[in-house]
């Protein structure tokens, strides 16, 4: 008779009920009393099939046999043999999101900036890269995007910087050109941009509304937090400059939800206060938080205790989100929403994000890079907008960054969602994009567990809410 043991999964409870998150399939199942008891028994060690039957004698034997068969079927239990090596499929998928760095210049000098700060990758000074993308390059980029999007009817174009609005003339003409070219090809292009909001003017807001451009504002919260790091070159804080413009934008631009993108640092770790300020007092629809990307030891880096504190705050806000979801109300905490969307779809990633797959960044000179965070970096270059994607370079990158090569991740139950984390974080922290981000493993597992609980509870108390995730989302750029 066969020996039964646990395979990989993470058990969690929600709404007073046990669930499993299976790894690597990323399937979520609710357990009944018998299946939970069988898993509990095997937690103490492997058992022969008949020993399981004997130990479960308080249940009807046919029911236990049935349960064991179901648990084997979904691979929650079974003979503990290592999975055979999976074929390494290199998903050469069409480009769905192009991030266009229309400028690498910025009118702010945020201390922690990954483009200008202490940990920058690309030397944009000394004329090595043009400060602004030319109209000709931007047009080439649009043609490149439409060509590389293949048979897909939709492409997404995100403007990025530097401060995007410093190159508004090119931004405007590029939108017009992309519309015209896409229409000729029978495709649709979505537009979005990220801005620090300092340069928003009524005519720019008009343009954004007219062209249905999605807007993400980089902003850190209440005045003392915003002014801590988000400063002008003379050191002056940007809050007073930014807020009236943001309010004006939020009031007028109602077509698409406007998101705030907050960088969290050791000094600005008050998540609920930032969230309330940006939603209730300012009026943002969505707020997403990202811990600052930094090499270890920087003054603003979030240490281990900081991550614990951050997790507690995220959990508190996630409870708020849960209450809203159960009542079928909108809640703008986008971190939890994005994660439960991935849980709902059962995303199991071989790569941490779309970078180098369906997403690429374009530098001011037209070089195509891994993503916008590497725009202009020769070491992470995948061709140019004029010559197209360098498929060999792309293949080499994908071959060396597969999750199976990250030995540290091999036993982690959160790997279907994390897959080692951001390439740029890893590069900044460990000097290579191939490394998993080991400094936040605990945080990722803690946060994923929280999101699973939120997901499970919504699935029990208001499953209809989850239907909002059945439409295709767009690639997020942060």
């Amino acid at each position: 008779m066969s020996i039964l043991g646990l395979r990989e999964f993470h058990r969690f409870e929600a709404a007073g009920q046990p669930f499993v998150y299976l790894v690597p399939s990323a399937a979520v199942f609710a357990l009944d009393e018998v299946s939970d008891a069988v898993l509990g028994l095997l937690r103490d060690g492997d058992r022969r099939h008949e020993e399981v039957m004997a130990a479960m004698s308080r249940f009807d034997s046919a029911v236990v046999a049935d349960t064991v068969a179901e648990l084997i079927r979904v691979r929650a239990i079974g003979e503990r043999i290592p999975d055979p090596p999976r074929p390494r499929l290199l998903p050469m998928i069409p480009l769905s999101t192009m991030v266009l760095n229309v400028t690498n210049k910025c009118n702010l000098a945020c201390t922690y900036c990954y483009e200008y700060g202490e940990d920058k990758i690309v030397d944009t000074e000394n004329g090595k890269k043009p400060k602004f993308m030319s109209e000709a390059t931007a047009r080439d980029a649009v043609d490149f995007m439409l060509k590389e999007s293949g048979a897909s009817p939709r492409a997404h174009l995100t403007f990025f910087g530097g401060e995007t609005l410093l190159n508004f003339p090119v931004l405007r003409s590029t939108v017009a050109y992309a519309r015209e070219r896409a229409a000729a090809l029978g495709k649709i292009v979505d537009f979005s941009l990220t801005t620090n909001a300092t340069l928003l003017r009524p005519e720019i807001v008009e343009f954004l509304i007219e062209n249905e451009v999605g807007v993400t504002v980089s902003i850190d919260g209440p005045k003392e937090m915003q002014d801590k790091f988000r400063v002008f070159h003379n050191g002056a804080g940007s809050y007073d400059e930014v807020m009236p413009k943001v309010r004006d934008l939020l009031q007028k631009h109602r077509g698409r939800p406007i998101g705030a993108r907050v960088t969290l640092t050791r000094q600005t770790l008050d998540v609920s206060r930032i969230f309330r300020h940006l939603t209730e007092e300012i009026g943002f629809t969505e707020v997403g938080f990202a811990p600052v990307t930094t090499a270890g030891g920087r003054d603003y880096a979030i240490g281990d205790e900081g991550f614990d504190h951050l997790l507690a705050q995220f959990q508190e806000l996630a409870q708020d989100f849960l209450r809203a979801a159960v009542a079928h109300r909108h809640h703008g905490f986008s971190n939890v929403k994005e994660t439960i969307e991935e849980i709902h779809k059962g995303v199991s990633k071989a790569y941490p994000c779309g970078a180098g797959l369906g997403l690429m960044g374009v530098a001011t000179d037209g070089d195509v890079n891994l993503c916008h965070r590497f725009a202009g970096s020769d070491a992470h270059k995948f061709g140019t907008v004029r010559d197209g994607v360098d498929r060999d370079a792309q293949r080499r990158f994908l071959e060396s960054h597969h999750l199976d090569d990250k030995t540290d991740c091999r036993t982690c139950w959160a790997r279907p969602l994390c897959s080692g984390g951001c390439y740029h974080e890893a590069h900044t922290r460990y000097g290579t994009t191939t490394s998993p981000n080991l400094h936040y493993c605990e945080w990722i597992r803690g946060w994923t567990d929280t999101c699973l609980q939120v997901y499970g509870e919504i699935a029990v108390r208001n499953p209809a809410y989850l239907r909002i995730f059945d439409e295709a989302p767009m690639e997020k750029v942060s």
Partner: protein
């Protein structure tokens, strides 16, 4: 399934994909000879028997004898037991030797514990 409830979309797909074939589909299958030409049944064709199992050292060593087999005869016996049923070599586990494999949890490491059976 009765004891696990699929919650997310992946779980529903997993449930669909692992759905055991309905009884009628099982009954509809037949054993076919390999030389009957193209597959007679649309499903994956899984040949019966052990002739397709790769078991190095199965028959004879490089000198034509059995002394230098890379796996001992006991392993061959067990392969017959697991891979296919070969009554001449495998003890009758139903009646005569029900515990023949009881000490062999994993053939790779426990094959030494399979004893010879004497009538």
């Amino acid at each position: 399934m009765n004891h696990l409830k699929a919650i997310n979309r992946k779980a529903a797909r997993l449930e669909d994909l692992t759905e055991p074939p309905a009884l009628s589909a099982v009954e509809g299958k037949d054993v076919v000879a390999l030389q009957q030409g193209p597959p007679q049944q649309p499903e994956p064709h899984i040949p019966l028997g052990c002739s397709f199992v790769f078991s190095p050292g199965w028959e004879a060593d490089r000198t034509g004898g059995t002394a230098g087999l890379c796996a001992p005869v006991e392993r061959d016996l067990f392969d017959c037991h697991m891979g296919c049923f070969w009554p001449a070599q495998v003890p009758d586990q139903l009646n005569h030797a029900p515990d023949w494999t009881s000490k062999c949890a994993a053939a790779q490491k426990d094959w030494r514990k399979i004893d010879l059976i004497f009538p």
